[in-house]
Amino acid sequence: MKLIKIFCLVFAFSFAFTGCEVEEFGNPNAPTAEDLLDGASLADLQLLLSGVESVLRNDMGFHYNTVSMVGREYYDLTGTDPRYTGELLGAQGAILDNNGFLTTRSFGQVYRVARNANNLVSAINNSLAGLSDAQINGLVGVAETFKAHSLLLELNRQYQNGIRVDVADADNLGAFLSYEGSLDALEGVLDAAYSQLQGAGDAFPVALSSGFAGFDTPATFAQFNRALAARVNLYQNDAAGLNAALTNSFMDTEGDMTTGAYHVFGSSGNDILNPLVVVPGQDLFMAQSCFITDAEEGDTRVASKTAFLEGGASLDGLTSEYQVALYPTNTTPVPIIRNEELVLMLAEARLQNSDVDGAVFALNVVRTAAGLPELDASTMSVDDATNALIYERRYSLFGEGHRWVDMRRWGRLGDIKVDRAGDVIHTQFPRPVTEEG
């Protein structure tokens, strides 16, 4: 009897290694939401702000490429994914898949920005960094402006489907708004951010990237905010609002067309490369042929934005001899919004008031920069000026996500040249399947 007991104890002894408790591991790979959103330090806030700015760029290639291709600015003839020349171009009436990456990647990216911006706002509000009210205003203004920019990109894709704007609480999302309602809501976000930026003192407590050089103080960032507001007002056909927003933006008819806020890229560490770069002679992202043939003689924008490819490229019945050449290196910045677009918005605002002279003045600013002769306003009707505006926006903003949106809001999608019989031009992207039900 005793022996049995002894052996049982040996048994127990051999298990001295095992207590009853299992070790609870934290996450050894990354900080978690609990670590960051409650009691963030100033360094944490910097990390989160850089995070938002960084996420703004993730998957942006999907947005710009799909929108540019639907708008027939350029094609992907690499053949890496058949959907770029099939589904996206409405080949034989193909519809866009509401669960395919053409739809979902950009949608997801936009709302990741919104998530991170909202998280930044709650981190700011629960911070232990001892921020002043002005500093809080400034950072919240930045976060909200980024969020609005990102959501506006998706609204351009979703169009009449509308979008959700209030997404702060993951378990209690705001409703989908109509297109107009969405624009109004984004205008509200931008306006609120604008007023916060005006009460934000002289400097932000943490730094923005060099892509915001010239827009890195509350006062100058507010000009960027107004530039975005101008876009919203443009889509709203709100000429008065547009004029006011442009006035408070960084628009400068005498300034450099490229002045603006940019996404910047890097090749080291966790940074990402410019996803829109087209390697000469290699990546077959090909401009629509008529972009070359429709151009006015001497338009420098053709040569600066496309490059002749020996032998050309063709795929699936699509052919072109010109590669897209917007970004010469894989760290070339991509504009978020820049002066050239603002000047063109000025022209459009003036046209909305039938001010042909004023509009042509603005168009000539852009034309001069493109090496083209000035137009003579005295010989032009509103329609002539409108056609000139369409041309300038097409060439000035090539590949920057505008042509399809512009032609749609002008009711001119049918004017876009289709290169292949049976193709259709999609009016909007479907609402992702994950948003249904």
Partner: protein, 1047 residues
């Protein structure tokens, strides 16, 4: 309580005579009996932990006293004799046991035994694995019994290891546990990997290879799918060591962009799985616990089933030395060919420039250039084994060097195993197994790519008149329209896995009590499995697609994954016999497992000229992933055996894991089973019926949540030289718990005509509750998913097996096994909306999880014009926009093994038939888009007979029809065939026996699938939807010549 229990078993405290030698562990625990006492003891020892040391110090003294008592016992008489097979060859290690007691011995090198028998007369029970057992009466006046055992087709006497420390005779088993011995495993033909050797050899399994790349990459599913997002793979236990079977990403995604940009880890890069390291030739036996009813004792790790592997051990006798050499070749199962081109067709497809090139350039069949080669296979194997009464040893070494069919691919492995058993005292035995493996796999670059850089992908766009050959300076021309040059890729890049692995285990067995009617044994075990996997990806700056500025400028990926599993366990097994033939086996114990993976991948881009070292580069990205896990559990079980007539078992496992939301919550997994051997009942054994067993088993098992499921982690990002943090797409769930599997299994086993004909049938219902589902969150939350325990699925299946030995004669033996099995799964509950998963998009074929449907169904979009009804309810009854095109799960599997033995000639073959499964073939999609499909101009698909195949598929697809990509993946294969001639030692001067042979693998493949092989997976083996093909490494067949010398 303890005392009151002991009253029932007074003999436990009497320490009566100790009779004979140690039995082999396997047999003894079956026959030795037990009381339920130690369950109580286990509870009590925790309270006495402070006195453990003191008691332990007295242990050796007490043990010595115990042994003295034992040796003082008196023997009534000594029985003796020899045990041979039917041909009179001695059987070494056969078990001889006095019926109704724990007294026994094993036969020696000459097949002889001597055994002290307490009373006269007595019945001896003789058993030996692979032979039908028998009983014989001996007495003090007639103590000699010589026996010849007949071979046992139904394997009734085979001992099946079913748990941590116990085993059961197959005859008494209540589960359909598959058991595969070394002869079956590797005796017919050589095997590339351990799992590869299992194809078709047991019922209830779906084994598939993810690609033809050398070095493995396989998945095993036992009795259907057992999870939606979890790992489907079984747990592998090798000599008690939890052997890791991870698939670790190679980090080539930066080049291939298969999973989109930015991910350094992807499951599309065709990595191998780590159980491939285990050398199939080291294996003595594999037992497969297919579901929870058999595997419940492994608790939360057993949901995928458990594969228990026992490696070879030495046997008493003079050293047995063998050397074998295999030389073989491997070649593609099939080549697909090229499209028939003529100048007019080229011009119409690609334009006049291409037609001019077509007319002037040489015509090269690049598929044949790449895949038309054969690779050389060489394996050298060395084994030494032997032992004395107290010591046994086994040494096995393998040097394997297999080329792949693609240039610069291949698999090399060096494996050394040393297994030693030592009897430290008559009551204490130590078994140590060690295995060191050094392997290298050059995998090539295949599967999906979004940058057209994989060989398969680029080949789809390469035309026979394209000039890919390097110029005189060795510079390969760039092919703009293709993205990469396949010849360059094959010749220039490196994509390699190097593994150094040590697997070691030690088992210490204390026979604490061993007497006439009871025994108590303590089995303690420790195991270690550690490996370092280095992945090397070199994509030099000289590659045509990395030459220009603005490209990545060359990529070097250096990954290092260190994985360590350790496991510790201790079990007490108590066996107790009563005179009435009733016996009890009680066991209880505790286990602890620790797992740790640390993977660091450094990716360098912008390489300095021709440099490949990751520090010779302009840009670096380092990624670290750590995966810790700790599990603790206990297990108790009681088995009651009524004279081998009725065997009933109940047991309970409890488990905790750091992977659960609450690490210290204990999850319980019960089991119960019963087997009734009708043939053992009086009057039933009439000489024809050797076995008739009815069995039923129930058990539960689990699967842990993934470690990361609890966390909303923030990923590191950077912009402009400044670090940032951004929320990941996974919303954490702090309440996540394990999945729970419940399995109920019924079966019947029968054997007749001297065990010449055996039959086994099993029906099972296997349900999984609390399925971990990735709840798809509205994308507008900024998250994509959250893991919740919100679903159930059920598998029902039938497994039939017929074993026969139709001809059994001196010069000619024929054995045949016919197996048939099927499984149907159904999602029985889903608390979140139905969702698609796997694959790329609904228009390209995906899986879909929806209540009431098969878990492995394949759906896709359809062309509304194809609908017969206005609302499309004929194609889309649910109105969800998806049509069901098929199911990855086959209607049934069937295999047929035959073994002929004609004198010294052995001939074996194994057919495997899989019927009625579907898969997604996206290789044809890519070839169609490249206009290069081999069958592009055939007219076999369009029901209207108008569009040629290539046009038909793409135009249907443009119209929304995913159907052209979903194909039948049924096949019939001659999995294995081998013929061997043995020259007996008598003809070689008694020095050695020589075995010569020729064998083949997958020599016959019949399938109607429009690519290399219906059995591939672009996404590896660990995903539910593992039947999607994207330009894989083509599968191969092998032929081997064998020479084996045994001294």
């Amino acid at each position: 309580m303890l005392n009151s229990l002991l009253k029932y078993y007074p003999s436990v405290s009497n320490f009566p005579t100790y009779k004979s030698g140690i039995l082999s562990e396997a047999v003894s625990s079956t026959y030795l009996l037990t009381t339920p006492i130690y369950i109580n003891m286990q509870f009590s020892f925790f309270t006495k932990s402070n006195t453990r040391m003191k008691y332990f110090a007295k242990l050796s003294l007490l043990c010595a006293a115990f042994l003295l008592m034992a040796s003082a016992a008196m023997a009534q008489f000594t029985a003796n004799g020899t045990v041979t097979d039917e041909d009179g060859e001695p059987l070494i290690g056969a078990t001889v046991l006095v019926k109704g007691t724990a007294i026994g011995t094993v036969t020696d090198f000459d097949g002889s035994y001597t055994l002290s028998v307490p009373e006269s007369p007595a019945t001896l029970v003789i058993s030996y694995t692979g032979y039908a057992g028998t009983e014989v009466e001996v007495s003090s006046t007639n103590p000699t019994a010589n026996l010849a055992l007949a071979s046992d087709v139904a394997n009734l006497e085979e001992v099946v290891v079913t748990g941590f420390a116990s085993s059961v005779k197959r005859k008494n088993l209540a589960n359909a546990v598959a058991s595969i011995g070394s002869e079956e495993l590797t005796g017919v033909t050589s095997q590339s990997t351990m799992e590869g050797s299992l194809y078709g050899k047991f019922t209830g399994a779906e084994i598939r290879s993810n690609s033809g790349a050398p070095g493995g990459g396989m998945s095993v599913r036992l009795r259907g799918v057992t999870s939606v997002f979890g790992d489907q793979q079984p747990l592998y236990i090798v000599d008690g060591v939890y052997m890791d079977n991870k698939t670790i990403s190679l980090g080539t995604n930066i080049v291939t962009a298969a999973a989109g940009g930015g991910n350094s880890a992807s499951n599309q890069d065709d990595a191998s799985n780590r159980i491939a390291d285990l050398d199939a030739e080291d294996i003595e036996n594999i037992e497969i616990l297919k579901g929870a009813s058999a595997a419940a004792i492994y608790g939360s790790r057993a949901a995928g089933g458990v594969v228990i592997i026992t490696t070879k051990k030495g046997k008493e006798g003079k050293p047995k030395i063998s050397f074998s050499q295999r030389i073989g070749t491997t070649s593609a199962i099939r080549l697909l060919g090229t499209r028939d081109w003529d100048a007019a067709k080229v011009e119409s497809v690609y334009g006049p420039d291409a037609a001019a090139a077509f007319n002037s350039n040489p015509f090269t069949d690049y598929e044949n250039e790449l895949f038309g080669n054969s690779g050389l296979l060489s394996t050298s194997r060395f084994e030494v084994s032997g032992g004395t009464k107290k010591t046994s040893y086994f040494v096995g070494g393998t040097v394997q060097d297999n080329e792949g069919i693609v240039e610069n691919t291949g698999y090399k492995k060096n494996s050394l195993r040393i297994n030693i058993g030592q009897e430290l005292a008559s009551w204490l035995k130590l078994d140590v197994s060690t295995n060191y493996i050094d392997s290298r796999a050059d995998r090539g670059l295949f599967n999906n790519s979004n940058s057209n850089t994989t060989v398969g992908y680029a080949l789809a766009f390469t035309r026979p008149w394209d000039v890919l050959q390097a110029d005189k300076d060795g510079v390969y021309p760039a092919l703009n329209r293709v993205g990469s040059n396949v010849l360059e890729t094959v010749n220039v890049i490196t994509n390699r896995e190097d593994v150094n692995r040590f697997v070691g285990g030690a088992t210490l067995t204390f026979d604490i009590i061993q007497n006439d009617n009871s025994s108590l044994r303590l089995v303690t075990r420790a195991g270690l499995d550690q490996y370092t996997l280095r992945s090397t990806g070199i994509f030099p700056q000289s590659l045509s697609y990395y030459r220009s500025p603005g490209t990545l400028g060359g990529v070097s990926v250096s990954g290092s994954a260190v994985n360590q599993n350790t496991n510790l366990s201790a079990f007490l097994v108590h066996s107790y016999y009563t005179d009435s033939g009733l016996s009890f086996t009680t066991q209880g114990g505790v286990t602890q497992e620790d797992f740790y993976l640390d993977r660091v991948t450094t990716t360098a881009t912008g390489l300095n000229g021709s440099q490949t070292n990751v520090d010779q580069a302009a840009n670096f990205l380092t990624d670290q992933f750590i995966l810790p896990q700790q599990d603790k559990g206990f297990f108790v079980q009681e088995e009651i055996n009524l004279d081998d007539k009725v065997i009933a078992t109940v047991g309970l496992r409890g488990d905790k894991s750091s992977n659960n939301g609450d690490a210290n919550q204990l999850y319980f997994y019960p089991k119960a089973n019963i087997a009734v051997n009708i043939a053992e009942f009086d009057g039933m054994n009439d000489g024809i019926l050797d076995q008739l067993k009815l069995r039923a088993a129930y058990g539960e098992a689990g699967r842990f949540a993934n470690f990361n499921d609890r966390f909303n982690a923030y990923n590191a990002t950077a912009i402009d030289g400044r670090s940032g943090l951004s929320s990941s797409a996974l919303l954490g769930n702090s309440n996540v718990g394990p999945e729970r599997q419940t399995e109920l299994e019924f079966g019947l086993d029968a054997a007749i005509l001297d065990n010449k004909l055996g039959f086994s049938a099993t029906y099972y219902i296997k349900g999984v509750d609390d399925l971990l589902m990735q709840q798809q969150l509205p994308t507008s939350t900024g998250f994509s998913r959250r893991v919740l325990n919100v679903g159930s699925l059920q598998n029902r299946g039938i497994e039939l097996e017929l074993n026969a030995s139709p001809i059994r004669s001196e010069g000619f033996n024929w054995r045949t096994d016919l197996r048939w099995w099927k499984n149907n799964s159904e999602i029985t509950r889903l608390d979140i909306p139905a969702f698609n998963l796997g694959g790329f998009a609904a228009s390209l074929g995906q899986g879909r999880i929806e209540e009431g449907s098969s878990a492995t169904q394949l759906v896709g979009t359809y062309n509304p014009a194809d609908c017969a009804t206005a609302d499309c309810s004929d194609l889309d009854p649910n109105g969800d926009g998806f049509r069901v095109y098929g199911d990855a799960e086959p209607d049934f599997n069937m295999s047929w093994w035959n073994g002929f033995n004609i004198g010294n000639l052995d001939f074996n073959f194994l057919f495997h038939w899989k019927q009625g499964s579907e898969g997604v073939n996206l290789s044809t999609l890519l070839y169609d888009l490249g206009n290069t499909t081999w069958d592009y101009d055939d007219l076999t698909l369009d029901p209207a007979g108008e569009r040629v195949n290539g046009d038909y598929r793409t135009s249907e697809w443009f119209a929304g029809n995913a159907g052209p990509w979903i194909e039948d993946t049924s096949y019939i294969r001659l999995r294995e065939v081998g013929a061997y001639y043995t020259i007996p030692s008598s003809m070689l001067g008694d020095v050695a026996t020589l075995k010569l042979g020729v064998s083949g693998r997958n020599l016959i493949n019949i399938f109607d699938y429009n690519s290399y092989d219906p059995e591939v997976s672009n996404f590896g083996g660990n995903v539910l939807v593992n039947s999607i093909e994207v330009t894989p490494f083509p599968s191969a067949k092998t032929m081997n010549f064998h020479v084996k010398v045994t001294f």
